[in-house]
Symmetry: C2
Subunit: 419 residues, 2 copies
């Protein structure tokens, strides 16, 4: 078993190769990587069974389901890699070009980051997704998954490396750290000189550990306490549709809404309708009803559990919605500014002044007018894919696709100019 340091050294040694190989070579490697996942599916399934067996009784059924692989899921992973082939190569694009008065020509050109380390948890498909996206964007990747998925992530990586090798490229373009102890994560976070970018993907604890402790550049991804503000001038039907969608279409993801702010001008009218739509109707038709947690003003209008202070600072990831009545768009923005994680927020209004104020003042990656926060996603944004959703402001914000896995460099051509 290689140490983390040995893995980082190997990654560094192949970094310059990947920056200069052609789009065709990268696509051929991706194609073989997909083939090899299918060809090695028995080994991958066997590894997955061992992972699931070992995890039983230790993690929840939802997590167990995320962990387990089937033939269909492996095929979906291979399809995912093939979709990356179709995406444009982000490397070597001339972003801008200027000829200076002294005659030097300055081109700003997109370039790979170099070595990208991805620390993630137990979803085995992250292994193939991350490997495909980093390779296509000209980066060498070091994967470090969670211990629950260690065997399947290893088997998937082995298959991907066979594909890379078959394409005539060094298989160390994709490596996995097999040591899943905290120590190996720390070594990656401290890999100054080896790691150009660290991307943590997973729960709030993992992300906090990485962004606060990493000495290498790190992207903060994920946590989303997303707000829906229903303005006094909202179209009621749009508001109810968007709120139900943002809260219930997939409560476990980061772009689901956790908090609803309601303009006091409309509270009397809409709160009973929210209760009807999110609780009563859903229960009647066999869907999971939403648990409403109400501030004092809302509780004076409809029945529900009283909200505790920390309900407005919690990513529930569940069928729970905190509701607060505010005096208007200004108070809504103030509340969001102090409680948001900078992910996605929406205003529902037909009033363009309120919409303009909201989009100008709200300082989050994605700011919506009359649409569901659930659209914050690389695919929905038209990026074709996504390696994560950045909630920081440095480098990339919101969904990160292939372009966000590149940096740029300046290439300056002269004819002997001096300063």
């Amino acid at each position: 078993m290689l140490t983390t340091l040995e893995i980082m050294k190997r990654a560094l040694s192949v970094k310059s190769i990947l920056a200069s190989i052609s789009t065709e070579d990268k696509n051929r490697a991706l194609s073989y990587m997909a083939d090899m996942l299918i060809e090695n599916k028995d080994e991958i399934l066997k590894a997955s069974e061992l992972d699931v067996e070992a995890a039983k009784g230790k993690i929840s059924d939802v997590m167990l389901d995320r962990l387990s692989l089937s033939e269909k899921r492996i095929e979906a992973m291979a399809d995912g890699i093939r979709e990356v082939i179709a995406l444009p190569d982000p490397v070597g694009k001339v972003i801008s070009s200027v000829t200076r008065p002294n005659g030097i020509v300055i081109e700003k050109v997109s370039a790979p980051m170099g070595v990208v380390a991805i620390i993630y948890e137990s979803r085995p498909n992250v292994t193939s997704d991350a490997a495909a996206l980093t390779l296509k964007s000209g980066n060498v990747c070091i994967l470090r998954g969670g211990k629950e998925a260690a065997r399947s992530a290893r088997a998937i990586t082995d298959a991907l490396r066979k594909g890379i090798s078959k394409a005539g490229l060094p298989e160390d373009l994709v490596q996995i750290v097999q040591d899943t102890s905290r120590e190996s994560a720390n070594e990656l976070m401290n890999g100054v000189g080896y790691i150009d970018l660290l991307i943590p993907r997973g729960g709030a604890g993992l992300i906090k550990a990485c962004t606060e402790n990493a000495k290498v550049p790190c992207i903060q991804t994920g946590t989303g306490i997303c707000h829906i503000y229903i303005d006094g001038d909202a179209d009621i039907e749009k508001a109810l549709n968007i709120l139900e969608n943002a809260k219930t279409s997939r409560p476990s993801v980061c772009n689901a809404a956790e908090v609803c702010l309601i303009d006091e001008r409309i509270a009397d009218k809409i709160l009973p309708l929210i209760k009807e739509r999110l609780c009563e109707k859903r229960e009647a038709c066999g869907s999971i009803p939403v648990e409403l947690r109400l501030d004092e003003k809302a509780a004076a209008i409809i029945e529900g559990k009283p909200a505790l202070d920390n309900d407005f600072d919690t990513e529930f990831l569940d069928y729970i919605l905190a509701i607060k009545v505010v005096s208007g768009v200004k108070e809504a923005c103030e509340h969001i500014s102090s409680h948001s994680t900078g992910h996605s927020e929406a205003i529902i209004t037909e009033n363009s002044d309120a919409a303009d104020y909201f989009t100008r003042v709200i300082d989050s990656a994605a700011v919506y007018v009359n649409a569901s926060t659930r659209f914050t996603d690389g695919g929905e944004f038209g990026l074709g894919c996504e390696i994560g959703i950045s909630t920081q402001k440095l480098h990339a914000r919101g969904p990160m696709g292939l372009c966000e896995l590149n940096t740029y460099k300046y290439i300056i051509r002269g004819n002997g100019q001096v300063r």
Copy 2:
């Protein structure tokens, strides 16, 4: 005296104001800031005299000169602020816009970072430059200078705040931390929730401390071990001109060359000419000659001090040049990859294959063909200004102007769309 925490809280409280004020208001504030520097020049000069008096005997004459202010230097600072007025406002630009098949319109719009903290050393003009650039780019700034310049930085900040106030804006848009102990720098580095971006400006020690310890997003600036590679197919005259310029036009700055790599095909011919141009001719005409530190192969051709290993990893910032003979462009790139700080490197060649290889493989912020590394500068690149030169890959690389002090956000407008 406010504590660093109190200063960060005040900055946070005015952040939303600055994001939404007009270009005209920002420019008016800048104009008053410049006026107030002139109007308060006596106070500033008095403070500067006290700083210089206290520093005498403790710092070098060069540093003492950097520290001291004159009426002319204050006027230059005011002119610097007025130049920022003329630069385009980077905030609110639509970077891209896409209408998705479901009808939602996704705009990617430039937006301020928020609160920018700048930790710097003893140059008083950084105070006014940094304040002007952050304000124009819609950011609130917290300045934290070195202890040698504490009085003058304070006096300059006081004058700038009077200008902001005269423009009817909150003076806390620009604040200075008066505590110049290590503790105040640590508080800024740990200011999660308050500081959106930390920019250290100064020596290698300061920058390393910030990039390795900061829990807030941080830009690595500055250190430049810049290389000039003279290829076998170089034009000799261009090579000598560029090398002399890159080494001697201003040796104390980060874009000066520190290392010269020479293709063995041309070494016999060019090394004596380098010695003549950089040492003998300069001495004869009263300029400071360059001390050459030679690897074994170069020492077999001309006389000079033998280079020690660490001479190839040192930012001399002085009239010293390390010279190494290499077997060609490939070895030159390998050497640069293991010794460069990622700032600026140049190849001198008339061979387009060698130039293409060099620009593709070298992973530095600025890669030159037949031009001096001294051009890596915001002004020379046409950015109009510069808050620093980034040597990292995340967010900004090379000279950072107003645009690099912005992030972006997505504004998504719909008509009730759900996912």
